[in-house]
Symmetry: C3
Subunit: 215 residues, 3 copies
């Protein structure tokens, strides 16, 4: 059966595939550390990989999601998961590698989620919301399925959802100002840069504390 693919530009498709590979690898690495078996590693990798896109496509009414209609997506996810299974145990700096691929997936899905929202004519808040959720969705599903508490919101030393939201906002603000590809690259760089700065301890947001603060 031939599918009429929606307006998925080549750019968006390539970004998607890189993001899927990165997230799948991050899911597989976590699964290896948790001592899942081979298929558990592949499943956790794939679910992590398509989680963000599923949220994006559900919220924008694009069903069935593109990764179910085009087998390339799931092959890339399996490739990413197998890479994690094969090379994961040999990595010396395991946590750092996991974090790098996690950030890459976060950046690419935040950008592609923002693009999806812009295509549908959402306003700034809607675009940021879809972008942020698409970015963090894969990681949240990965952590919940692996039996870990999702770190999205409360690890405030890592600016996770914040970085995704800022990247999506960047894409929205640059839309129509610069070429689409440049806007997407800059949006992804904002996400990666904020994550990097927050890991260095250079960017923090204010916190409200309960009690003992006078009035």
């Amino acid at each position: 059966m031939a599918w009429d693919l929606p307006d998925v530009t080549l750019n968006l498709r390539v970004l998607d595939l890189i993001g899927i590979f990165a997230f799948s690898l991050s899911g597989a690495l976590l699964a290896v550390r948790k001592r899942f078996d081979l298929l558990g590693v592949v499943v956790l990798g794939c679910v992590t990989a398509v989680g963000g896109g599923s949220i994006r496509d559900t919220l924008t009414g694009t069903v069935p999601p593109v990764y179910l209609r085009d087998e390339t997506y799931l092959w890339v996810a399996i490739l990413g998961a197998m890479s994690g299974f094969l090379f994961g145990p040999r990595l010396e700096r395991f946590d750092r590698t996991l974090s790098v691929f996690d950030t890459l997936g976060l950046a690419l899905f935040a950008v592609s989620g923002a693009l999806g929202g812009i295509t549908l004519g959402f306003g700034p808040l809607g675009v940021v919301f879809v972008g942020a959720l698409s970015g963090v969705g894969g990681g949240v599903i990965r952590d919940v399925l692996a039996g870990e508490v999702p770190q999205v919101l409360y690890r405030r030393d890592q600016l996770y959802a914040t970085a995704a939201a800022c990247g999506a906002l960047t894409v929205y603000l640059l839309h129509g100002q610069v070429s689409d590809l440049l806007g997407q690259l800059l949006g992804a760089l904002v996400v990666i840069g904020l994550r990097w700065l927050s890991r260095r301890g250079r960017v923090r947001l204010p916190v409200r504390r309960l009690g003992d603060e006078g009035s």
Copy 2:
């Protein structure tokens, strides 16, 4: 791009906005207690606020959800979250305030979910199911993202899902009997009343125990 909004009556919209404010405030209060940073508070508030509506709209096939097409919804959610961030730490009776707004959100989303089901011609069970899930959805997502075990089902001293189901059933039974607005108000009052009674310890449902019970 102009959107043809679905049959969202003014009543439904106002109920939705109040429910979104209440749930967003409840999410923000929990985030403040968990010491999330400013954007973490806003994100948890917003996700809690739109969680119930997302479930309702997904189950009833209304995508993209209305809150992505009409920016008012997300502004109200941000307003609720900022209120929680600003005033939360000064609240003396913190848990009680959290519970009041949680109940209000539960009541309004149970009612609007039931209305969505009635509009689509669902039968009584379908209406109750959509209403109950819409009501509890925001709170479950809030608790999972905040790293807490969702309390929906097993805190049997609080009749949470039960209250939402009874409120949705009330809306269903009164549909066509009284004016829509009156039916919605009575449905919401049933939810609030059951929650209040259960917190006073006056309403309990039977429990089956394992073992040591003779036959």
Copy 3:
């Protein structure tokens, strides 16, 4: 209002209803062990029962899901949950009974999810993905709502997601080779057989370990 039901064949409907009964009973049994009250048992049973189908219908764009349009489904779910509430406490071999019904639900939803994917013209990976997610979805939602860590992926002595994926693959490979009903039965038997073998300790998949393994 009259609904035009999608191409749900009689076979698929009967399989669905048996799967719903089995999963609802499994959810109710867990709720009884957790000492939920009567309505908590019914709600957990129903949500477990429709979880797999909701994922299947959302991924394949069939909304509203069939169980909301045809009240039979929710009645069967309630019947399953009430059976768990009434008979659960008298079961001597409680965990074993829970596991049997869990496996039955897993098998039937993996098969019906695979059928849904085949109907939409998905390739082999898409079919396996939808089948596996539909199979494990109900159990994951049940475990998360009951405050348990979902056991889908990391209990590698039980081949849970693996069994669902293999069953879905069987349905895909046999499609067009044998009659639909026979293909579905064989797919379900593959799931049940793999689960049974894994519980006997006879089937394991390889695991990668970190550190101390030379190269």
